[in-house]
Amino acid sequence: MILGLEFPPISHLVEWPTLFGGEVFGVNKVVLLMWISVGLVFALFYVASRQPKLVPTGVQNVAESTVEFVDEQIVQQTIGPDGRGYMPFLLTLFTFVFICNLWELIPLVQMPVNARIALPMFMAIVVWFVYIIVGIRHQGLFGYLKNSTIPPGVPKAILPLVAFIELIGILITRPFSLAIRLFANMLAGHLLLVTFAIITQSLFAATILGGALPLALLIFLMGFELLVSFLQAYIFTILAAVYIDSSMHPEH
């Protein structure tokens, strides 16, 4: 209760009641939205590639510009031409994260799937497995360990400390920060929108004119959140690409 404003507790904003299913495999709104996102990603690329035309229209246009964006802005910028093999993985990751984030802005849904830690954490673990397996395949187990923990040009005296920090960074900090970054950004955006919606509503109840300013700010923030949800999908994918690149091409 701040200045007569009733703000619900955080758990009220992100926890949803179980719709069906048991205690362990209960399905709520967030899981349902995640399934719909999976279906949308599949449908987007399936419909686009079913009858490809030389001059793309409609859905094929959207899919082709997404592929082009991921290829030119993410894969070519970080891994280079030999990263094309990881295109399908990164493209799916980008599209899925973006669609999951977009639910934040759809009226009557308004719940970013990534505002619960489960999905970002799972995707971070998948990326973790991918870059470690790529590293072992390209450099061998000991080569990968040596190249990634011993940076060139470090004095021998502090080498054990540096190697330990690098090892912790690769095994723990990377997946942890990948998951937390996406999760916290979407949660913060969700809380921001909720806060301004509550302020707008309670000021409208007091004076109709007073609600206009927070409403204008709310609309502006929705545009800002559209930018953030795109940017977070981009950053998640580009970091996955950077980690794969560091496994494929060690620094010398």
């Binding site: 920060s177 916290a184 580009i238």
Partner: protein
């Protein structure tokens, strides 16, 4: 003063201190990344203004730099929710 303190309900002080702690945790965690992101973006703009043809490469690296810097502030944001009285 003392009789006012004695009137406090059970756990009220803890709840208040938790709220203060959350504020301090998030505020403190935002200082460094705030300066850091400012440096990253400022230098990226300088680089883009000097070499407009390198803007694409600079922008990609800038977003990477922002992502790494921002992570620290977000740890603080998450930690402020984890702290409970």
């Amino acid at each position: 003063m003392l009789d006012v303190l004695a009137q406090q309900a059970e756990g009220e002080l803890e709840a208040g201190l938790t709220a203060v702690g959350r504020g301090i945790v998030y505020g403190g965690a935002a200082i460094g990344p705030g300066i850091g992101i400012g440096l990253v973006v400022g230098n990226a703009i300088t680089a883009m203004a000097r070499q407009p043809e390198a803007a694409g490469m600079v922008r990609t690296t800038m977003f990477l730099g922002i992502a790494f810097t921002e992570a620290l502030a977000l740890f603080g944001f998450v930690l402020s929710f984890i702290i409970s009285g």
